[in-house]
């Protein structure tokens, strides 16, 4: 009898769960959903690689590539905090489920070109 009120309520309220594949999952403005990389801003400083707690990021300075293992990434957002060049950002949408072979490791070619200075020339 103590649950009668609760039981009756069940018939009238909207479903509290989300039908996930059909409906997108709930998220908020501050949700850390997935990491987005902008190859045009990355200077290969490797700070994100050094400070990643789960060692998900590999930056190859020689090959000019930025590689992320999406299955190792824990969405802590530490790399976004340490990146001084606004190359990394967190988006609010959760990424869809995928197999490791399908979208596990993502490789980006860094397209950043160092602005030329009048006196100094050359890259790294």
């Amino acid at each position: 009898m103590k649950m009668l009120k609760t039981i009756l309520k069940q018939f009238f309220h909207e479903p509290v769960t989300t039908l996930f594949p059909e409906e997108p999952p709930r998220n908020y403005a501050g949700t850390r959903g997935h990491l987005v990389f902008d190859p045009s801003k990355c200077t290969s400083c490797t700070m994100c690689m050094k400070r990643c707690p789960s060692q998900a990021i590999i930056v190859d300075r020689a090959a000019k590539t930025w590689i992320i293992d999406r299955f190792r990434c824990v969405m802590c957002g530490n790399c976004v905090d340490v990146c001084k060049f606004d190359s990394l950002s967190m988006e609010r949408e959760y990424s869809k489920s995928a197999a490791a072979a399908e979208r596990g490791v993502e490789k980006f070619d860094i397209t950043y070109v160092k602005p030329e200075k009048p006196k100094k020339e050359g890259g790294e």
Partner: protein, 360 residues
């Protein structure tokens, strides 16, 4: 006629156990004579990683010690580093840490209430407890960006601030959550079936609780007035705090402590919201920790102690965690002795075991 003693293995996988603990139950007929616990099924070696990650990045790892009381682990770790380095955390950051700590306490207690109802086969109650928990998790996600692993603490403060508009709207939502929790706890505390499975089962006397070193709601259910929040760390000293204590020491008392703490936490969040000071939420951190520090906090399951030792580099040399479940295991072994075999699953659950946290 008494039968011969038999040993029945219980766990690490059992329908009512959310986490892997193994007990060898020595039974005579239907009565349990003693229980021999064995742990070590989910050891991950998280503590040893401390010398391979920078102390500022280890906060995210410290948070992953436990999947339920994650926020308290990160704030305790940060508190330890800040204490070692003599960093003064801005008052707004301590208030925010208090607020999120209490939110995680509510979600942990609601999770336990749900799991407990499920262990009795009371599934509709389980759904209702977790339905309320979902709205708490939504609040956490909206403010911190993460549902269970918030990742919002950092050495020197917190990473995110809350807007005044959000705080004012939060008050209304808390009213709704509190009403739903009232209905829910009414069932837990007054339902005939639940009372039958809780009252007088697994009695832990006040003396035993003290000698065996019980912590958290297990100790408070036995009449021990032990709560680290009464020392006034973070903002607890400012908002005022009085521990919830029950005298009987049985499963019902432990359940009642958790039910009452739900409302106490809502009350603390309200007071934190009204007294929230303005200003920065973090201070810049320079230098590396040197020395050692014991950092203590009250988790949903009891007192947690983080021991940290640094040597002036960016890597700590020692890190040790003592979680509340470990200190509650001797109490659990003591209360299982003498009970009926059929009551063992419920008695094990009343200490709210968090084995993932205990073994790290």
């Amino acid at each position: 006629m008494t039968g011969k003693q038999t040993i029945i293995p219980f766990g690490p996988q059992h329908p009512v156990l959310p986490e892997p603990i193994h007990l060898d139950l020595v039974v005579e007929d239907e009565r349990v004579i003693s229980a021999i616990p064995s742990i070590g099924y989910v050891h991950r070696g998280l503590e040893s990683l401390v010398d391979r990650r920078e102390y500022q990045d280890f906060v995210y790892l410290a948070e992953r010690i436990c999947g339920i009381c994650s926020f308290t682990h990160s704030s305790t770790f940060c508190q330890g580093i800040e204490g070692m380095m003599g960093i003064e955390v801005p008052p707004r950051a301590t208030y925010l840490r208090t607020m999120w700590g209490e939110y995680s306490r509510i979600h942990s207690h609601l999770l336990w209430l749900g799991l407990f109802a499920d262990s009795l086969g009371f599934e509709s109650l389980f759904y209702n407890a977790w339905k309320i928990r979902e709205s708490i998790l939504n609040e956490l996600e909206a403010t911190t960006g993460g549902r269970v692993i918030q990742g919002v603490c950092k050495v020197g403060g917190v990473r995110r601030d809350v807007t005044p508009q959000f705080l004012s709207e939060m008050d209304d939502r808390l009213d709704g959550i509190e009403d739903e929790m009232k209905e829910l706890t009414n069932v837990f505390l007054n339902d005939y079936t639940l009372k039958k499975r809780l009252v007088g089962k697994g009695v832990l006397s006040k003396e035993d609780a003290y000698i065996l070193g019980a912590a958290g709601p297990t100790a408070r259910g036995s009449g021990l007035d032990i709560d680290i929040r009464s020392t006034g760390y973070l903002a607890y000293g400012d908002v005022g705090f009085k521990p919830v204590v029950e005298k009987d020491g049985d499963g019902y008392a432990r359940c009642a402590v958790r039910c009452k703490e739900l409302f106490q936490s809502v009350e603390i969040i309200r007071r934190v919201m009204t007294d929230m000071p303005s200003g920065d939420v973090s201070v810049p951190v320079k230098g590396n920790p040197d020395g050692e520090y014991f950092s203590r906090s009250e988790q949903p399951r009891g007192e947690v102690v983080h021991y940290l030792k640094g040597n002036g580099t960016k890597y700590l040399t020692q890190f040790r965690v003592r979680t509340p479940t470990l200190t509650n295991v001797p109490a659990l072994v003591s209360i299982i002795g003498g009970c009926e075999l059929a009551d063992v699953p419920q008695i094990v659950l009343t200490i709210d075991p968090c084995i993932g946290c205990m073994e790290r």
